[in-house]
């Protein structure tokens, strides 16, 4: 029975317009965050007999299909410096991480609604859980990539050190977009559909399957407005030494992500005022 616990004071007040991000509180709840992340990973895998197989199945199947199409149709994907299979597989895994995490963060509030009605925790924990737990599947789906790199002998260079930065930028973009749409979808389910459509089309307007070199030089400016374009190329550049780093494109992606996370978290905090009433 120590007395210092009495010093902890919680003040409950009506929400004010100027809500700021309480990182200190988030740190205090880190145990809950980790526990929820582990729970989320376990749920993803506990019901599957072929646990890991399904994690690679989708990118590997798509890899097979596109290599088939490319070889038999003679289509030119304009991929230079590295083999098409490495280009495609590396693009697919980070793209799927982006899509699944964005969808999951956007839905996280709805998913944790029952919990939010009964237990207090910093609301930012909800979108953070899928963001981090999906990294696990992302890591597993990277195992075939490692095998392919060794097989083909295309080793990464010093740029591998930049890989965490690129992944972090991708996570920032996911969290920003996810929190933004989580806030929207509290008021209208249309937002969720809109996000799904954008993410679906994203596969075709991002450099996942083909190289942006295929695009006309003048149109490239428009093409790189897509923040994931820079991320995808930068991700590959970190993995494959011969692949040039898209400095300006990635800088744009980074700036875009930072703007989105600030806007997203602000909106999320504002929506938080209404969570319990609206859920």
């Amino acid at each position: 029975m120590s007395n210092n616990i009495h010093d902890k004071e919680i003040v409950i007040e009506p929400p004010s317009g100027l809500v700021h991000l309480n990182l200190r509180e988030l740190y205090e709840f880190r145990h809950m965050l980790w526990s929820m992340i582990w729970k989320s990973i376990r749920i993803q895998f506990s019901e599957l007999y072929l646990k890991f197989f399904w994690t690679f199945a989708r990118p590997l199947a798509m890899l097979g299909v596109f290599i088939f199409i490319k070889n038999y149709s003679g289509a030119n994907m304009h991929v230079s410096n590295i083999s098409y299979s490495l280009y495609l597989y590396s693009g697919l895994i980070i793209w799927f991480y982006f899509v699944e995490s964005t969808n999951a963060t956007a839905k996280s509030v709805e998913k944790d609604a029952a919990l939010m009605k009964k237990i207090y925790f910093p609301r930012l924990i909800s979108p953070l859980v899928p963001l981090v737990s999906n990294l696990y599947s992302f890591g597993i789906s990277a195992i075939p990539l490692v095998v392919m790199i060794i097989w083909q002998g295309t080793y990464p260079g010093w740029k591998l050190l930049l890989l965490p930065l690129v992944i972090l930028q991708c996570m920032i973009l996911i969290l920003g977009t996810g929190t933004m749409f989580a806030s929207f979808s509290l008021f209208s389910k249309d937002a969720e559909r809109f996000l799904k459509l954008v993410l679906y089309l994203g596969l075709f307007v991002s450099p996942v399957i083909y190289s942006p070199d295929k695009i006309h030089a003048k149109s490239q400016l428009v093409y790189f407005l897509n923040p994931m374009a820079g991320t995808l190329l930068a991700f590959r550049s970190c993995l494959f030494n011969d692949f040039p780093f898209p400095f300006w494109q990635w800088m744009y992606s980074l700036a875009f992500s930072l703007v989105f996370i600030i806007a997203g978290i602000r909106m999320y905090r504002r929506a938080d005022m209404h969570f319990a009433d609206k859920l």
């Binding site: 009506p14 019901e47 919990l115 237990i119 207090y120 009433d277």
Partner: protein, 427 residues
């Protein structure tokens, strides 16, 4: 300096939107209507907005004030919809208040339900860990209480079975065991004691009793008056989002159970704590409305008649001439608010024979919502013949006395006076 106050609530209010009432035609449920629904929705796009200003509101809580010191056990009672759960949700930080402020000092755990976050595909063991982390415990802390939790729950054999194979009783027992082994300074409880079979319920009650006697602060919302009496030494009674009583638990529960809220007539025959000679005794107090019908609810500003039935010990051969009846209204802290002595009016109460009834009419009951004591006395020929202190507890509910939806705050006193403000500006 250690602050003695565990929970301080100042002017807390919560407004809920109950939505704009939409006009639906009865016909809109056929097959064709379902097929056409997407097109009908288009029509409504312009009408809906995210924060509809035209929504109707209700105040689930209005201007709640109280202080709870460390170590106090407070029960919160009231009818459904009185605002009990809303209050607990605000204190648990699940919803924001609309106005006011609450301060909580100390480590607080709120149990609005047990087994929150239990996952069917996890084993009992995993769920204990998960559930306890949700209440803010760290792994090492859970390790240290894990054996106690398992023993208490009595499901030790099935600890490594997925809980989807548990019976609902086993699940509840495991969930409650986790909850019962949390060790907060302040515990907010919402009707979670009624789980499992009788033997387990008994065990839970003992456990909560143990927590209660361990110097913890407990705020307990319940409909079970026996549990309230057992654990709480203080009761806050909510009605229509307001505190109408805040005080000693047993008295509050007694009031609530056989309370004047349901019974507008109170027999005084059982009252032996009287003063006076006893030549005439009051037998009954009734609260009547303006049409002399028993009153369901008494509200601020309402016209009421307080009827006092009496019986003379021996019928008077010659009626006494000087009869004075008096009613005194006190608040629940025994402060006298006002008196209603018959003698200052030209009321003639004489001509007492054997039985009868005095009626005191208040054109407008001038008190803010709350519980009030009515003390009655009777003087005949300058001699006190009967006096019953706190003969009746009058529960007054809110009403729009001033036509503005507002009433004076209790900090200004509990009396509502008919008043007006004018302004004469001199330029």
């Amino acid at each position: 300096m250690k602050n003695e106050t565990a929970i301080e609530v100042q002017g807390l209010s919560k407004k809920y939107s109950i939505g704009t009432i939409k006009k639906y035609k009865k016909k809109e449920i056929g097959i064709l209507d379902n097929l056409l629904l997407p097109f009908r929705m288009l029509r409504n796009i312009g009408e809906t907005s995210f924060f509809n200003k035209n929504d109707d509101f209700i105040w689930a809580l209005k201007d709640i004030n109280f202080k709870i010191n460390h170590g106090e056990k407070v029960g919160i009672i009231g009818k459904n919809g009185a605002g009990k759960s809303t209050l607990l949700k605000i204190l648990s930080r699940l919803v924001y208040p609309t106005e006011g402020k609450a301060t909580i000092r100390g480590r607080v755990t709120s149990l609005l339900e047990v087994g929150t976050g239990f996952n069917n595909n996890f084993t009992g063991r995993e769920n204990v860990y998960l559930n306890a982390t949700l209440y803010g415990l760290e792994r090492a802390e859970i390790d240290s209480i894990f054996d106690d939790i398992v023993e208490f729950s009595g499901v030790g054999k099935f600890l490594d079975t997925k809980i989807k194979y548990y019976s609902s009783g086993m699940r509840m027992r495991l969930a409650f065991s986790v909850a019962a082994h949390l060790d907060p300074d302040i515990l907010l409880l919402d009707e979670v004691l009624a789980v499992g079979d009788i033997a387990f319920q008994q065990k839970c009650l003992e456990r909560v009793e143990g927590l209660a006697s361990g110097g913890r602060t407990i705020v307990f919302v319940s409909h079970s008056m026996s549990a309230i009496v057992k654990f709480c030494d203080r009761v806050i009674w909510l009605q229509d989002g307001k505190v109408i009583y805040d005080g000693e638990a047993t008295e509050a529960v007694k009031l609530y159970q056989d309370g004047p809220l349901s019974e507008k007539e109170l027999d005084l025959a059982s009252r032996s704590d009287r003063k006076g000679t006893g030549l005439v005794r009051y037998t009954k107090v009734s609260i009547l409305d303006e049409n002399m019908n028993l009153c369901e609810n008494v509200r601020t500003g309402q016209c009421i008649n307080i009827a006092l039935d009496y019986r003379a010990e021996e019928p008077y051969a010659e009626p006494p001439r000087d009869v004075k009846a008096c009613i005194i209204i006190e608040d629940n802290k025994q402060n006298r608010l006002f008196g209603l002595p018959s003698e200052i009016l030209i009321a003639d109460l004489s001509n007492i024979k054997s039985t009868g009834r005095f009626i005191c009419k208040l054109n407008s009951l001038p008190v803010i919502p709350g519980v009030y004591d009515i003390t009655i006395s009777l003087l005949i020929d300058r001699q006190l013949v009967d006096k019953v202190v706190s003969a009746y507890k009058l529960v007054v509910l809110e009403d729009d006395y001033y036509g503005t939806g507002l009433l004076p705050k209790h900090t200004m006193g509990r009396v509502c006076v008919d008043f007006d403000w004018l302004h004469e500006s001199r330029n």
